[in-house]
Symmetry: C2
Subunit: 68 residues, 2 copies
């Protein structure tokens, strides 16, 4: 089990949260995604440590950016 927290910029509403949650949730091994809209914090729980670049790609697919 692994947990990582990322910061995503550009989310403005619950629809944005849903899009990011859905895209990250499609990554292999992801078990849970919790997004805090106010801070942009996205906490991802997965069976194994995630490749940050896959997370970045998922966030960008949703239309947002990962803070570097």
């Amino acid at each position: 089990m692994s947990q990582s927290t990322y910061t995503v910029t550009g989310m403005t509403c619950d629809h944005c949260v849903a899009s990011v949650t859905e895209e990250i949730g499609e990554i292999d091994g992801v078990q849970d995604v919790v997004v805090d809209l106010a801070s942009g914090a996205v906490t991802v729980t997965s069976t194994e440590p995630l490749d940050d670049e896959r997370v970045r790609a998922a966030v960008e697919e949703a239309g947002y950016k990962l803070a570097s």
Copy 2:
């Protein structure tokens, strides 16, 4: 053919625009819905004049408010 413009508050992103467009588009007789996110202006084209209360209900169903 009738066209009315409403002001919707609370839309922050394209997902919000899509939600409002979809809900208003489900009203009988509506042919076209054009939303300007920056101003909140929603222009609705319909076969007959719309009941403003139906538009208000659709906007609220989407999770937003009609400016009075």
